[in-house]
């Protein structure tokens, strides 16, 4: 006879974080990247707000799915983890119990997650543009850019670091803001739990 235990809270929190991250990233992308394309050697800027929302949705969803897959591969509870890590994970998931070791591990994981999600977002956005608009053209078509107007021109991959830097910095700013907002939500939750469900020793 099993109790009906479902991770509905996890689904709700994740949806909330996704919505926050998508909203923030869409705004930042629209503000930062909708400049005149002739000034910087940018790839196609998301001109319309709708496009920026779609880009943000795609990248954030991709980051979430990749995160889940990593979780299932490395932290899945089918005896891959050593026993004490597993117990700490179970304690954390089911009972919100922190030890010092858990706290440091979580902080480390958050750092890694931030930079990993930044990388996934960046390359995900590159991949998305490639899927949407086709493979990058070769370097000799540089001169024809101004006449193309709004259409998208991709640079050769060896020029990538310079050309994609506005996109990268926009993503960095967006991710930092989004993570700050998520931390604020978690802090609120911490206060709420301390008030309503204090740990009784």
């Amino acid at each position: 006879m099993f109790a009906i235990v479902l991770p509905l809270k996890a689904f709700a929190y994740q949806s909330l974080f996704l919505l926050i991250a998508i909203a923030i990233e869409a705004t930042v992308l629209y503000q930062r990247l909708s400049q005149d394309s002739r000034k910087s050697l940018d790839p196609s800027p998301p001109i319309t707000p709708k496009q920026s929302v779609q880009y943000a949705t795609s990248t954030q969803l991709l980051a979430t799915v990749v995160g889940w897959l990593v979780f299932f591969m490395f932290f899945s509870t089918t005896r891959i983890l050593p026993s004490d890590l597993r117990v700490a994970l179970i304690d954390f998931v089911f009972f919100d119990q922190w030890t010092e070791g858990t706290a440091t591990l979580l902080i480390l994981i958050s750092f890694v997650t931030f930079f990993a999600s930044l990388a996934v977002n960046h390359f995900g956005l590159l991949g998305l543009k490639r899927i949407l608009y086709g493979a990058p053209k070769s370097a000799e078509d540089d001169s024809g850019e101004a006449s193309e107007g709004e259409s998208d021109v991709f640079r050769d991959l060896r020029k990538e670091p310079r050309d994609f830097q506005p996109q990268f910095s926009a993503l960095l700013f967006a991710n930092a803001l989004a993570y700050t907002a998520i931390l604020a939500v978690l802090l609120l939750r911490l206060l709420f739990m301390a008030y309503y469900h204090p740990i009784s020793v």
Binding site: M1, F2, A3, I4, V5, L6, P7, L8, K9, A10, F11, Y13, Q14, L19, I22, A23, K50, V53, Q54, T57, S58, L61, L62, T64, V65, W68, L69, F72, S76, T77, T78, S83, V87, I90, D91, V93, F94, F95, D96, Q97, L128, I131, L132, Y133, G134, R189, M193, Y195, Y196, H197, P198, I199, S200, V201
Partner: protein, 376 residues
């Protein structure tokens, strides 16, 4: 025809429903989704009549096929009508149009695969593969060209590609969510004592309160320990029993091993057996000596550091009336050994003692009240 009409005239209220059904059937065009569903129904009836297993499966394939195609077709037509009347369902913020028909069709296909054990064998793989199959169902129409060819990916336009990307990511996310839910169930299977605990502080899971909440494994451990001790001291006299009980700390390892073997099996079936341990103490008091049996839990729990289940057993001389010379009644133990109710220092663990006086709604309401307003 006129005679028929005259006949109908007299029996209007009776024949009206039949007329309705007749009109419905006559309104079905030959090449439509209703025909498909009817074919499926026919195939199911044939399936019921056939006894041979192989032939049954063969006809079953057709039945499922017509059912799936029929529902998909019907739902598509409904969607087209809604699109013309501009009544589609839109997600407000993102402007995405949500279609529910691929999910229903995907569910039917998943059920079809499940009934044939075709890659899908149980509820877990069914739920996890449902979003992916729905994704294939939703994406497939975009690749169709007139004639029996399929479009290459590069022939789709930008908006379609973007939609596909977002759709596939959402489907993958749902699959991951379902898989996580099943992994939670796996953990609970290995740690059943956790179900007796309260998950109110958890950031991840929610527990629906059920009537018969399980008790921690410590309870059968204590019962077994008590029984073992009782059996052990039964043939002894009072003095010998008392001596044995006084030396009980030396018996603890064997008792521990025996009790765990009885409750968890050898080798242990459950992972949580490594966190349970048994301890026993004998305290000499007046009027009765006390044997304190403890089942100590050092694993995950809502109480930091684990909790202890304790049972006090009183050991003393029996009241005078029961000292009778053994006269064929069998051995009467010359002492008393009563064990009391199990108590614990864990505040939120269910020990089975609370009767079903309140239903689950009342318990849930009580559990979400802030701490200071709850009576203790």
């Amino acid at each position: 025809m006129n005679a028929f009409k005259a006949f109908k005239f007299n029996l209007k209220p009776v024949t009206r429903p039949f007329e309705h059904v007749q009109k419905q059937f006559q309104g079905i065009k030959a090449f439509s989704w209703q025909t498909c569903l009817l074919l499926s129904l026919l195939a199911w009836c044939v399936c019921l009549l056939i006894q041979a297993e192989g032939l049954r499966k063969f006809v079953g394939v057709f039945a499922w096929f017509f059912l799936i195609v029929g529902t998909d077709w019907g739902l598509l037509e409904q969607e087209l009508k809604a699109r013309k009347a501009d009544k589609e369902f839109k997600v407000p913020l993102l402007g995405l149009k949500l279609r529910y028909s691929p999910w229903i069709t995907g569910a039917l296909i998943t059920l079809a695969f499940w009934s044939y054990d075709f890659f899908i064998t149980d509820a877990r793989s069914a739920l996890v593969s449902w979003p992916i199959i729905s994704l294939v169902v939703a994406a497939f129409p975009r690749f169709l060209k007139p004639g029996p060819k399929l479009k290459h990916f590069s022939e789709l336009d930008v908006a379609a590609r973007q939609d596909l990307v977002i759709l596939s990511l959402i489907a993958l996310l749902l699959s991951c969510w379902f898989e996580f839910g099943f992994q939670i169930q796996d953990i609970l299977q290995q740690y059943p004592s956790m179900q007796a605990d309260s998950f109110a502080r958890s950031a991840f899971v929610v527990q629906a309160p059920i009537k018969n909440q399980p008790v921690p494994r410590g309870v059968p451990m204590l019962e077994q320990a008590q029984r073992l001790v009782r059996d052990r001291i039964a043939p002894l006299s009072w003095n010998e029993a008392r001596q044995w009980l006084q030396n009980i700390p030396s018996q603890v390892p064997t008792l521990n091993a025996q009790v765990k073997e009885a409750v968890f099996g050898n080798p242990p079936r459950l992972e949580e057996s490594q966190f349970w341990s048994l301890s026993a103490q004998f305290k000499e008091e007046i009027p009765d000596d006390r044997l304190i049996l403890q089942a100590i839990w050092r694993g995950p729990s809502s109480q930091p550091g684990g909790y202890v289940l304790q049972q006090n057993c009183l050991f003393g001389k029996p009241p005078l009336q029961s000292i009778t010379p053994s006269s064929g009644l069998g051995a009467i133990t010359p002492y008393r050994f009563d064990c009391q109710r199990i108590i614990s220092n864990a505040k939120r663990v269910n020990l089975g003692g609370r009767g079903p006086q309140e239903n689950f709604l009342q318990r849930w309401w009580r559990s979400i009240q802030p701490r200071f307003s709850r009576e203790r």
